[in-house]
């Protein structure tokens, strides 16, 4: 079961549809209790960083942090990745989760902003064995649409270049984030979502085994 967090910013249909295509059951919620009980959490996101403020106001931010602390696999997409950083200059008063260091900032480039379209990802040294990107060759194309980008810091597993190099994917233990839209990135994107589902299933099996061993 994939638990999609709804925070009323944009539409979840495409993300839900992709997981359903992969044979997953999907629930959509903004109830902190449901988030705490989830076996795999996904935070899709489009639009403005300030929309994540609703997650704090509704108690979902704390529920997500609790779930992560208890080892629940968590995938953030687009603004969902940015939220995993310290914050964003798009809305300085809205704190991120602080799981990765650094502020998200607007692209500093003479190219058109937003960055819209298909661009390539390349693993970083620490992303060499990325679980999320397993089976995805370097230089694969994925679909982006965003004006703010996260910096390349510890935990960044893949980067993309658009005038400057930025974080395309992050990964630490059971926390994952992608700046691009895997649900809109053809077979490459479906592979990435499938990797997340597989990882979540393995993790759940391991936790169940731990539980029964006790």
């Amino acid at each position: 079961m994939i638990t999609l967090i709804d925070y009323k910013a944009g539409n979840l249909t495409s993300v839900r549809k992709a997981f359903v295509h992969l044979g997953q059951e999907v629930e959509i919620t903004e109830d902190p209790a449901v988030v705490r009980a989830a076996t795999a959490l996904v935070l899709p996101g489009v639009g403005h960083f300030v929309t994540t403020q609703r997650l704090a106001t509704r108690g979902v931010r704390d529920a997500v942090l609790d779930a992560i602390a208890r080892g629940t696999p968590f995938l953030g997409i687009c603004v969902g990745l940015q939220w995993q950083f310290t914050g964003s200059t798009e809305s300085p008063e809205t704190p991120g989760l602080g799981l990765f260091e650094g502020q998200c900032e607007r692209f500093r480039t003479t190219l058109k902003v937003p960055h819209v379209g298909w661009n390539q990802i390349a693993r970083t040294a620490e992303g060499k064995d990325s679980r999320l990107l397993r089976g995805v060759p370097d230089d694969s194309f994925v679909y982006f649409t965003h004006s703010y980008r996260a910096p390349v810091v510890t935990g960044v597993s893949a980067v993309t270049t658009y005038g400057e190099t930025f974080a395309a994917a992050v990964e630490r233990d059971h926390v994952f984030g992608v700046q691009f839209h895997p649900e809109k990135s053809g077979d490459t994107g479906l592979r990435i979502l499938e990797n997340f589902c597989e990882y979540a299933a393995e993790r759940q099996a391991a936790r169940a085994a731990e539980g029964s061993a006790r």
Binding site: A18, W118, N119, D139, K184
Partner: protein, 277 residues
């Protein structure tokens, strides 16, 4: 860190367009004389499988018939489609847009309603994000001709005066296309879909001078439409026309090109493409 010698960065996009009326894909010449070209869901899937970077579905008679777009067609088309999917035609309100997003559209394209009531651009952008709002502009030149010219001649033409038309090219507005594109951007549009009515359906090439006029005036992506007939036309519109993406309908439907073949040709002309796709 692998940088990948094949790295091409962001690519130019090839967008397959499905003009739909009464639930069927059709193609006309200069907006009239429609002929049947197939089922939207099937065609969308075929185009994506052969490498289309996006799919656009336009209900071309929704506005002129004053009826809502066919939600079930959108839902059916979206179901197995995992590239960006835009839907347009007859979007008149935030509720219309919301219903399309719910049915699986990633972006909506607004045309007539945006001209009549520009606040709708901002309204939809604030709710769903600018990335989800394409303002479609159907433009017809006031003077001069739109046919294919060398790159230098396009540059020499400077800013082209073209008039915006509504309701699938039926109603002139008196508005200048470049100025309207700039206003649409300022109101929250995430992309501009620019169709040359002079070139549409002719397969004689895009209106590169008009496309360049709009592309240079805005800081959001411009999708060129109308006139695609050969791979060279796409090279022209990406180079001389400064387009970020190009849309083609009829050249794909009847197997004249498949997208993969077109993209391979463009790549060989050093236009960055998503390949393999």
């Amino acid at each position: 860190m692998s940088t990948g010698t094949a790295s091409r960065g962001i690519t130019k996009r090839i967008i397959a367009c499905l003009d739909v009326t009464a639930g069927r894909v059709v193609k006309g010449v200069q907006f009239v004389d429609l002929i049947d070209a197939g089922d939207p869901a099937e065609l969308a899937h075929l185009h994506a499988a052969s490498g289309a970077d996006e799919v656009v579905l336009l209900d071309i008679t929704a506005t002129s018939d004053a009826r809502p777009i066919l939600i079930d067609v959108v839902r059916r088309t979206a179901r197995q489609l995992f590239v960006p999917f835009t839907v347009g035609g007859g979007v008149r309100s935030l509720d219309d847009a919301a219903a399309l997003f719910d049915a699986g559209a990633d972006k909506i394209s607004i045309n007539s309603a945006a001209i009549k009531s520009p606040a709708i651009i901002t309204e939809i952008a604030e709710r769903f994000g600018s990335q989800a709002v394409i303002v479609a502009i159907d433009a017809k030149r006031k003077t001069g001709d739109a046919k294919r010219k060398p790159e230098a001649a396009v540059a020499a033409e400077g800013i082209v005066a073209a008039e915006v038309y509504l309701a699938g090219g039926r109603t002139p507005t008196g508005r200048n296309a470049v100025e309207w594109a700039v206003e649409a951007e300022s109101r929250g549009a995430g992309e501009i879909l620019l169709t040359s009515m002079d070139c549409d359906g002719t397969r004689a090439g895009f209106d590169c001078a008009l496309t360049a006029s709009v592309a240079k005036a805005v800081n959001i992506p411009v999708i060129a439409s109308g006139g695609a007939g050969t791979a060279e036309h796409f090279v022209d519109v990406f180079r001389a026309g400064c387009a970020d993406a190009a849309l083609a309908a009829s050249i794909f439907h009847f197997g004249i090109h498949d997208v993969r073949e077109l993209k391979a040709k463009l790549q060989s002309e050093n236009i960055p493409m998503r390949l393999p796709c």
